[in-house]
């Protein structure tokens, strides 16, 4: 019986270099020691890291005045009062579809970016990438760059090794703790919970989640790193279906690089490729692959190999861009000595995604702009479904929930129609007959009213309309409810 094998490199099909064709089904993880790269993409990554971490750590501290009695935190998911605040937007449980819309928008934006620029999300902004990058930076500060780290890990346990390891893990844990600590600020008033956290007055859930996020940050960014992207994250699989040969990806231009091999100074550049097999692109890679094997599932397209290669090309006096953002079609065309097609931003899928994004964005903006500030919901009593009164009339009970999304108290007029001769009264108010009744509604909350509706037995109509109208702004909301009787 031969060994069970699995080909996981479908990438070389377009005529590129032949990837290693077979790998064991199970392979032990090999520790990766990414070397520090220098160049414009490394710079971009530092800037993006500073920006994303800055947003994450500072956002909960931004204040936003909303009026008396309403939280003044700009971004807050307030589970206790069931509201989500985002600057000028307030999402009530009744508006939960906006949250769904936001998630759809985020997904579509990811699709669009993927079909334009490949996995830029993975390479630059994904939290796993950002925190791993930060952790490797700390690791480098304590243990040195690639070669030094490899030496240290191979060497015996000495005092030097011990304090470097200890220092690294301590700083990792501190970063992890700040990460977990910042997370809970999004769910409570930030200054209050931050103070309460240290005086022991914060809710139990705050400690639990801070601890959980501390651990996940420490393990995911410190220990698991690229395994999260390769084995745990579904995105590499999904993005394979979204990208195509027209998308810009971090690509090794084999048309220019092959045949590769070490080169003596005396050798001529004729009849050989530009790749001198210096291995720099492999050494800087945070996921431990060789980009020259073509597009790979593990590749997060962080572009650090571009920096490494460009540096080497400059040193040996060849043009940069042997590894670059390029499309599969362009590389294949050049390999076949044809003119590469121009990169096209407008393609069917990018247009489709853009149209969908615009449509949903317009819908959401329209929805937010015209969002109702009152909402009426009617719940009919289930038990008893109806009662017969002593005068022979049939009576049904309802609970009316009135939502007032504005910060001031309002007056609402309740009117009920639909059955000939109906009358209603609201518990706690003097009311008889079918004339509309004005009730007060408290600011920024939900009020419940108990309504009893009675109608002559045998009336044919079985549906009633309960409508609510703001006496000042004339805003209305209408509900239909069933009216049950014995027949």
């Amino acid at each position: 019986m031969g060994q069970t094998t699995l080909n996981i490199h479908p990438g070389g099909g377009s005529g590129g270099p032949t990837p290693p064709s077979h790998q064991d089904l199970y392979a032990k993880r090999e520790q990766i020691y990414p070397k520090l790269a220098h160049g414009k993409f490394r710079l971009v990554k530092w800037v993006v890291m500073a920006a994303t971490l800055g947003v994450y750590y500072l956002l909960p501290w931004i204040r936003w005045d909303r009026g008396e009695g309403i939280p003044n935190q700009a971004v807050l998911a307030d589970f206790q009062s069931e509201k989500f605040y985002f600057f000028f937007i307030e999402i009530w449980p009744q508006d939960i579809h906006f949250l769904a819309g936001l998630l759809i928008l985020a997904a579509l934006a990811l699709f669009l970016v993927t079909s334009l620029l490949g996995r830029v999300w993975c390479g630059y902004t994904c939290p796993q990438t950002v925190w791993t990058d930060l952790y490797i930076w700390v690791e480098r500060a304590f243990e040195g760059d690639r070669a030094a780290r490899m030496r240290l890990d191979k060497g015996k346990w000495t005092f030097n090794k011990a304090w470097r390891k200890l220092g690294k893990h301590t700083v990792w844990l501190i970063i992890a703790f700040w990460t977990g600590g910042a997370f809970i600020l999004y769910w409570h008033d930030a200054p209050t919970v931050a103070r309460g956290w240290f005086t022991g007055e914060a809710p139990l859930s705050a400690y639990w989640f801070a601890g959980l996020l501390t651990l996940t940050t420490y393990f995911l960014a410190g220990w698991m790193r690229e395994q999260v992207c390769t084995y745990m994250c579904p995105w590499p699989r999904i993005q394979a279906a979204l990208t195509d040969e027209y998308a810009l990806n971090v690509t090794y231009r084999y048309d220019r690089g092959e045949p590769r091999g070490p080169k003596r100074k005396s050798e001529s550049w004729d009849e050989r490729g530009d790749c001198i097999d210096c291995d720099q692109c492999v050494q800087v890679c945070p996921v431990g692959i060789d980009i020259r094997n073509g597009p790979q599932l593990e590749c997060i397209h962080c572009a650090l190999c571009i920096d490494a290669c460009d540096q080497m090309m400059t040193k040996i006096g060849r043009p940069t861009g042997l590894i670059a953002y390029d499309t599969d079609v362009a590389v294949a065309a050049r390999a076949a000595h044809q003119t590469p097609p121009k990169y096209r931003i407008l393609r069917t899928r990018t247009v489709l995604y853009s149209v969908l994004i615009s449509a949903i964005a317009v819908l959401m903006i329209w929805g937010l702009a015209t969002k109702a500030t009152i909402e009426a919901n009617v719940l009919k009593d289930r038990s008893p479904p109806f009662v017969q009164l002593s005068d022979g009339n049939i009576q049904n009970g309802y609970t009316l929930k009135l939502v007032n999304k504005m910060a001031e108290p309002r007056e609402m007029e309740i009117s009920i129609t639909g059955i000939e001769g109906l009358s209603f009264n609201v518990i706690g108010f003097e009311h008889e007959g079918s004339e509309p009744l004005v009730v007060p509604v408290e600011p920024f909350g939900v009020d419940r009213y108990r309504i009893l509706v009675s109608a002559p037995a045998g009336a044919p109509q079985r549906l009633i309309t309960i409508s609510v109208r703001d006496t000042v702004s004339e805003e209305t909301d209408t509900n239909r409810a069933s009216f049950r009787g014995p027949n």
């Binding site: 009593d381 017969q388 009164l389 009576q395 009970g397 706690g428």
Partner: protein, 294 residues
Amino acid sequence: MANEIKDIDDHSGIETTGHSWDGIKELNNPLPRWWLYIWYGTIIWAVVYMVLMPAIPALPGMGTNTTGLRNHSDRDLVAAAVADLKEARVTQSETLLEASLEEIETDRGLQQFALAMGESLFGDNCATCHGAGGRGAVGYPILADDVWLWDGTLDGIEYTLRHGIRHDGDLDTRFSLMPSFGRDNLLSTDQIDDLTDYVLLISGQEHDAAAAGRVAELYQQQCASCHGVDGTGDRTQGAPNLTDQEWLFGGSRDDIYNTIYNARNSHMPAWQDRLDDASIKALAVYVHTLGGGE
């Protein structure tokens, strides 16, 4: 021989268990490390738990179980939680006690509190007989309509809740007694038959007019003192209106005959010893708002 010499599988190079079934041997692979360590972890955890928490039942001289170093008791926790809840409710309960029933019902804040409290109290204590939402059942009045045997005002409902109906242990309980006309031989079965037709007549149902006519006089002698000359009942005695369509024990011929023959005197416990005053007030408001409060 298997005890002494390790049996190594040729193909995989791994030791076997030494057992052979029709020539098939089982590889003695070690347990996965992660599994083993978790298992050791649970053993350590169990020891720690036994020391800290109640764990071993019925050791002599130790009560029902060991208490553990933490002295943990679920029973105490429940008692503490109940006490906490009572304390948390104190302020609102006090406002309920101070306000009149009418104030509770018309003040929005008090009303919401009383209804929420009343709803859960009703579910725990009253719905067993009166049904969810006061829908009623045979022998147990509907509380959601406007037909009341005794009193449908806020104060009347509170009185009924406090003292109950025909409740033995309460001198102020609402009380009346309908005689068992048949069982105690006060009337003959023929008379009861005819009286049944009379009740069917005054409640507007199908009846034998001749039979009803025979006992018009008898009704005035035997029944009118409680149910009224015209049969519309008397709330001071809890005597139901016989002329409407509401029947506590059913309005068919058989039901009515049965009622006259055996009498119906149902009971409701007095709640003032079981519930505190604030609870009774909240319940009174809740029942009053169910649909037919007066």
